[in-house]
């Protein structure tokens, strides 16, 4: 039996605006996604902002009810059996929030240990070992408001693991962290994987998913786009070459002309500090650089790099197609 099963899951948010003329608005956050996660697997849910990743996690952790479709977590229905799921899963979300700032890390953990029914005899030892796991030993008596983002995030993970959950949901755990903090969190997650925990990780950092996840599902605009191992997803673009062109202010009309160049499969733009990077995917062997430079005539072009495709390129291709 899969640890998590999601079938045709849909969620629509409804709201009303206006006082006299009430207008009803609907936002379709999930439009029927399906996937499953095996026990002991580290599964990644990838997608751009607004894709429906957090909504999926909230439904699976019993915080939201689905509008349609079904889900099973360890065999239990999140909509109808929330109590059974809550005692078996941990939930960690990214960002600064979710902790009592004016209390120490130790007080936070003690409180959540009581809420999550950690036996009194095990509480002290469990908290000590988790502080050790997340590298906060020695800092536990300091108020959380004095912690860096990375420390808070690691404390979040410790909180999520207090009751030794069978499944851990990690919702963008490295968002907003500096590279060192993000690496520490990834190391902690990798460590948990070796302990056999089932983990559902959402992220939009491709290298994170590539480094950590055994399988990945890509969703965009609430729809399922693709799934597979990182290698399988990368294989989708292995027949491609990626050309990166450093440019400075490319007009939309120029971009449209570039898309029409023979051999171009897709074009994405990335804004850098002082420049813009055009990431062009083309079929292997297609010599399109001269044609691209010709279309960019009149636009400043810096470095031009040709490289092998990465998981991020596969993701851009998948999301673009989705």
């Amino acid at each position: 039996m899969a640890a998590i099963e999601v079938h045709e899951l849909e969620r629509t948010y409804r709201s009303r605006k206006g006082v006299i003329r009430r207008r009803r608005t609907e936002v379709h956050a999930l439009r029927g996604i399906t996937f499953d996660v095996a026990a002991g697997e580290l599964f990644g849910l990838l997608g751009p902002n607004g894709a429906g990743k957090t909504t999926t996690i909230k439904i699976l952790t019993t915080l939201l009810l689905p509008s349609r479709g079904s889900a099973r977590v360890l065999g239990f229905d999140p909509a109808r059996q929330p109590g059974e799921i809550r005692r078996r899963v941990g939930h960690v979300f990214g960002g600064d929030r979710g902790l009592y700032d004016r209390l120490s890390a130790l007080d936070n953990l003690r409180y959540f240990a009581d809420l999550y029914r950690v036996p009194v005899r095990e509480k002290r030892a469990r908290i000590a070992s988790l502080l050790e796991l997340v590298g906060l030993t020695g800092r536990e008596r300091e108020r959380v408001e004095t912690y860096s983002r990375g420390m808070r995030q690691r404390l979040h993970i410790a909180r999520g693991l207090l009751h030794d959950p069978e499944i851990l949901f990690l919702d963008e755990p490295t968002i907003g962290l500096d590279p060192v903090g993000a690496r520490e969190v990834r190391e902690t997650v990798a460590n948990l994987r070796t302990q056999g925990k089932t983990i559902l990780l959402t992220t939009h950092y491709m290298y994170e998913a590539d480094e950590l996840c055994q399988r990945i599902a890509v969703i965009a605009d609430g729809r399922f786009v693709a799934s597979g191992t990182p290698r399988e997803l990368k294989a989708r673009v292995l027949d491609r070459t990626v050309i990166e062109l450093e440019t400075f202010g490319v007009a939309e009309a120029t971009l449209e002309r570039l898309r029409m160049v023979a051999g171009v499969a897709s074009i994405a733009t990335e804004t850098r500090e002082q420049s813009e990077m055009l990431v062009v995917q083309s079929r292997i062997g297609a010599e399109i650089v001269p044609a691209l430079l010709q279309e960019l005539n009149g636009t400043s072009v810096g470095k031009v790099i040709t490289r092998e495709p990465t998981l991020e390129d596969a993701y851009v291709e998948l999301v673009g197609a989705g």
Binding site: Y13, R14, K58, T61, T62, L63, L64, L65, G83, R86, R87, H91, F93, G95, D96, R97, G98, L99, Y100, D101, R102, L103, D107, R110, Y111, F112, D114, L115, Y116, R117, V120, R159, H163
Partner: protein, 254 residues
């Protein structure tokens, strides 16, 4: 569940005590309320009335601290991003929220004592208690009755994001219906009848009758009865409103 309740109370009292703004209010408000009780009635020659007014002012303050403190605490949970974590905890949600309202009531219990102390120190309000033992019991019963009414109110705070505004709006109606702001004898009869259903009414009667007589035991008993009823209603409402919040997706602030 008892551990979650005790731990929750401790955490929320500590959290409250580390906010200088809240602490300043708790120090200043009892002086203000003691002053109001003294100057409003101008009853220097009637020590019993003066003590009754001080007790009324204390209950007013206790209710304010519970209703504002609870709504503020719940709004803070949203801002801190902890409300979702509390809902996702495996213990019943009432055992998570009740400590917040009872912790506010606990602070209110301190405020009651402080108001009486300031009244005695500043305005010579005679602190002669007819039934000291019953008074010692009446105060925690009053805290419980008011805290549990706060629990019922808190269930709506889970559903609506403007909890703090709602908390402020609920102060005056309860003050009036309880008879601590204006004597019920000068109000239409139905206002007093509404008071029968309110914890602060029985809490005020319990501590007033313990202090001034006659027997407070009936009122103390009613405090326990309404507390139990509020707990049952609060638990049902919390369960229902959390279901609605899960359906609407309103547990998070943004």
């Amino acid at each position: 569940m008892i551990r979650a309740f005790a731990s929750g109370m401790w955490i929320h009292v500590v959290q409250f005590s580390r906010n200088p703004f809240d602490l300043t209010g708790v120090v200043i408000w009892p002086i203000l309320y003691a002053s109001i009780a003294y100057y409003l009635l101008d009853s220097k020659d009637n020590p019993r009335l003066l003590l009754a007014a001080s007790l009324g002012a204390s209950v007013m303050l206790m209710w304010s601290l519970v209703v504002i403190g609870s709504s503020n605490a719940l709004e803070n949970q949203r801002w801190l991003g902890t409300l979702e974590l509390l809902v996702a905890a495996p213990v019943p949600f009432a055992a998570v929220i009740a400590p917040i309202t009872v912790a506010s009531g606990f602070v209110g219990g301190y405020a009651l004592v402080a108001t009486l102390a300031w009244g005695t120190l500043l305005f010579d309000v005679p602190l002669v208690i007819v039934h000291p033992l019953a008074f010692a019991l009446a105060v925690p019963c009053c805290v419980l009755a008011i805290g549990m009414l706060g629990l019922v109110m808190a269930s709506t705070f889970v559903l609506y994001r403007a909890a703090f505004s709602l908390g402020i709006a609920l102060q005056y109606p309860v003050w009036i219906a309880t008879g601590v702001l204006v004597p019920l004898s000068v109000l239409p009869t139905f206002v007093g009848r509404i008071g029968w259903f309110l914890g602060p009414y029985w809490g005020y009667r319990a501590i007033r009758e313990a202090a001034l007589g006659p027997s407070p035991w009936a009122a103390i008993g009613m405090c326990l009865v309404v507390s139990a009823a509020y707990f049952a209603i609060g638990t049902i409402c919390l369960r229902a409103f959390v279901h609605v919040a899960r359906s609407r997706g309103t547990l998070k602030l943004t």
